[in-house]
């Protein structure tokens, strides 16, 4: 390197035009970079939104024609059909899904919080054993056990298909398995608060209600959100427990059957799309409303494992 261009030359440093030129070129580069980033982001958004645009457009289609992205004729009949169709009682499925999701949410939230609180805050013999047990149980494919439960429930129902009540029981009974994220959150609440309450004469119960619950609003909302959306979108368990009686199905099972029944591919596609839109709307609304808490929940869960 020549002395003239090096920083050891006082003139080089003093020469401000050099510096300006440098920053200007840097700015140009970063401008191109920003432009490229915008282009990438627009492309990404396009890719991410296009299926949903397609879903929305096709839900208004009079007839499904694969060669047209935007249907040629629009109608509102598909939505009306959702509530009038007799072979596929969509509103019944919708009601089933809703009942299952609401009841599960209530019980699951309580159970998850109780488990997480006792495993995070209380120290007792067998605590580590319970945590290890849950870890190992989580490694088994859970639905294997469901086969057994299904057959047993069927036996108790006298050979009939079990009702949606059985699905609720199963979702709720397994809720202790998903305590991790709430526990991770409770671990971060300082213990000195517990001690302060205890000095004032409080017991474990007061600690839970006066310290943990008021401080864990985000994680409680996260748990509620997750326990509402999971049964709403679950396909595997629901399809196993659904059986042949269409009035017992949830929306997930129903829509899957509609789309995969041979002969329905084109005929029922707009119906399916309308159903998909109606199913997605409450979840989407809930989600965007509570997005902040969801992010906190999964980010916290990812960090603490």
């Amino acid at each position: 390197m020549k002395y003239k261009d090096s920083i050891y030359n006082p003139d080089f440093i003093r020469n401000s035009s050099h510096k300006k030129k440098h920053t200007r070129s840097m700015k140009a580069v970063s401008k191109i970079g920003t432009g490229a980033t915008y282009i990438i982001l627009v492309v990404i958004s396009f890719i991410w939104l296009i299926p949903f645009v397609y879903l929305l457009l096709q839900s208004f289609a009079v007839k499904f024609e694969p060669e047209y992205f935007i249907p040629r004729e629009f109608t509102f009949n598909n939505y009306v059909q959702l509530f009038t169709d007799t072979t596929y009682p969509f509103w019944k499925w919708y009601l089933n899904s809703f009942i299952i999701a609401v009841v599960t949410t209530v019980f699951q939230t309580i159970l998850v919080l109780l488990t997480a609180y006792s495993l995070s805050r209380l120290r007792f013999k067998g605590r580590q054993a319970i945590m290890n047990l849950i870890l190992i149980l989580g490694m088994f494919p859970g639905f294997l056990g469901m086969i057994c439960i299904y057959n047993i429930l069927k036996l108790f129902c006298g050979g009939n298909e079990p009702s949606i009540f059985s699905i609720i029981i199963i979702y709720c009974a397994n809720s202790a398995m998903s305590y991790y994220i709430a526990k991770g959150f409770f671990d971060t609440i300082p213990k000195s608060l517990d001690e302060a309450v205890r000095i004032d004469g409080g017991n474990n119960n007061t600690v839970f209600w006066k310290v943990i619950v008021p401080m864990s609003k985000p994680i409680i909302i996260y748990t509620i959100l997750i326990s509402f959306t999971t049964p709403w979108g679950d396909f595997m368990l629901a399809s196993m427990l659904a059986g042949l009686k269409t009035s017992n199905w949830t929306v997930a099972v129903g829509l899957q059957t509609i789309i995969n029944t041979i002969g329905n591919e084109t005929k029922m596609f707009p119906f399916f799309c309308a159903g998909g839109v109606v199913v997605s709307i409450p979840i989407m609304a809930l989600f965007f409303w509570l997005q902040k808490y969801y992010v906190e929940g999964i980010a916290g869960g990812a960090v603490k494992g």
Partner: protein, 512 residues
């Protein structure tokens, strides 16, 4: 070798040295492990003898009340003013005795052969003049045997606990300490609060997860299929026959099963690897793009991506499976109208294409999750790290490799592992997109084992189990159970290795 010598080696040499030292350390590690075993066994034995010593002490040194509580649970307690506790244990003992003598012992007696006669036709006077009486039911026998054994174990534990407590009460009485119900009940709000809190979740776990799980593992040693559905028919223990049917090459045609099994397991691992890492890295890149200081409308970009999470997965996956359809798919039509292809591509029913499409669609699904997780963490990386790197003249790529990536891996290591394990069991993406297709094709004339019915080239182990036990006819529960155990072995093995590695990372505390 000293550290200086190690550092002076070139990179490939270092790796060779590490591999060499790994193998060198194996014998020592095994020796250490073997040396530990006797001590561990001794320790366990010592622990196991404690209850017996307590029981002996209670029997020998206790008074008649303590001795009577060997037979009548809780006697020592309700005669020493812990009425509630004593009565509760006594009630449980009565329940258990009644249950066992009326019902439980029959089930346990039948456990060895799972019933003799399933049903019998008995003539009756009114039409249709015969009636089926169901007698033995293998399913119920097996189930109630498990329930009885678990109930018995719990009872034994409570029995032991009650004797120990009676003995303690007796000793306290000797030194003039009085017990009371109040004190006992108060302990459930204080020291034993977890017993109240955890009782409901644990009962749920035992009834609906643990018992079914034990049941399904045992089913793997029977010949239970939907052809033998109870109560009309019985099933029976067959030992390791189901395992042999699947994995022993001597049994006819199980070579086909082994080949398909290897295919499925390879694809499962490849899938889990790609699904995890493509999502992770691309999601991180997207998060970094959005996080750039010069980018505006950050919230908008994020919200657009989050739509995928907000829409239930089965809706978007079924829709996409329709869009990629061979004859009615919009993707094919668009590609045709653009002139890129002439004939429709069977995206979801050609062997390698399907698997690639599944991974790509999974990227579409998974990026938003990673993006959300990474956003917060990326913002927490100390800015001075980047500034000092810039002063040293590091390129953006180098900064990413040396600062961003290690930091992210450090923080999100456990998440990455749980993602990997979760993807092994990712049912939704595979089943709703391709249903596991395209199916395996076999040479004509070969008798295909029933376990392979409907098995496709994009099936994971979990979807294979689903097909075996839900959609196929007959439903082969025994083979499903064996496959389930396979999944357990794989998942347990992987998580053991990965968690051990990540905890070593955790201990370094590089960024704290």
């Amino acid at each position: 070798m000293t550290k200086v010598e190690y550092l002076s080696m070139s990179k490939p040499l270092r790796i060779l040295y590490k591999i060499g030292s790994f193998f060198k350390s194996i014998p020592l590690a095994i020796w250490k492990f073997l040396k530990k075993i006797p001590f561990v066994i001794l320790k366990l034995l010592r622990k196991a003898t404690i209850p017996f010593i307590t029981l002996k002490d209670a029997l020998v040194y206790g008074d008649w009340k303590v001795r009577l509580s060997f037979l009548v649970c809780g006697f020592g307690e309700f005669t020493r003013k812990q009425v509630v506790r004593g009565v509760l244990v006594l009630l449980l003992q009565i329940c258990f005795t009644v249950y066992f003598s009326v019902f439980g012992w029959k089930m346990l007696a039948n456990l060895a052969d799972l019933g003799y006669i399933a049903s019998a036709e008995v003539p009756i006077n009114t039409p249709p003049y015969t009636r089926n009486f169901y007698l033995d039911n293998s399913l119920l026998i097996l189930l109630y045997s498990i329930v009885t054994i678990i109930f018995a174990l719990i009872m034994i534990y409570l029995w032991y606990n009650s004797i120990r407590n009676s003995y303690v009460l007796y000793k306290n009485e000797q030194i003039g300490k009085e017990a009371s119900d109040k004190e006992y009940l108060a302990s459930y709000v204080g020291k034993k609060y977890q017993n109240i809190l955890l009782s409901v979740p644990m009962v749920g776990l035992v009834l609906f997860t643990i018992i079914p799980m034990i049941f399904m593992i045992l089913i793997g040693f029977t010949n239970y299929t939907s052809d033998r559905l109870t109560p009309i028919k019985l099933f029976d223990w067959v030992g390791l026959q189901t395992y042999a049917n699947l994995f022993a090459s001597k049994v006819s045609n199980s070579n086909l099963i082994i080949q398909s099994f290897l295919h499925v397991i390879t694809w499962t691992l490849i899938w889990a690897f790609f699904a995890t890492f493509t999502n992770y890295f691309l999601g991180m890149v997207v998060a970094m793009l959005i996080n750039k200081k010069t980018i505006k409308l950050k919230k908008l970009w994020r919200t657009i991506l989050v739509t995928t999470i907000a829409v239930p997965q089965f809706v978007s996956l079924l829709l996409i499976s329709r869009m990629f359809d061979e004859s009615y798919g919009v993707v094919n039509e668009i590609l045709k109208s653009l002139g890129l292809i002439k004939k429709s591509i069977a995206f979801l029913s050609t062997f390698p294409i399907t698997n690639i499409v599944i991974i790509v669609v999974n990227i579409w699904i998974g990026i938003p999750y990673t993006m959300l997780i990474c956003t917060g963490i990326l913002m927490n990386i100390p800015e001075d790290l980047y500034e000092s790197a810039k002063i040293d003249g590091a390129s953006p790529f180098k900064m990413y490799m040396k600062i961003t990536l290690p930091y992210m891996l450090f923080i999100t290591g456990p998440y990455l592992i749980s993602q990997f394990v979760g993807n092994i069991n990712n049912f939704n993406v595979i089943y709703l997109l391709s249903k596991g297709g395209p199916n395996f094709t076999f040479k004509p004339g070969v008798t295909v084992p029933t376990q392979l019915t409907g098995l496709g080239r994009s099936d994971l182990l979990i979807t294979w189990i689903y097909k075996m036990t839900i959609t196929n006819n007959p439903k082969d529960y025994a083979s499903g159970s064996v496959m389930g155990i396979c999944i357990f072995v794989i998942v347990a093995f992987l998580s053991l290795i990965l968690y051990n590695r990540s905890s070593s990372v955790k201990n370094e505390e590089d960024f704290q």
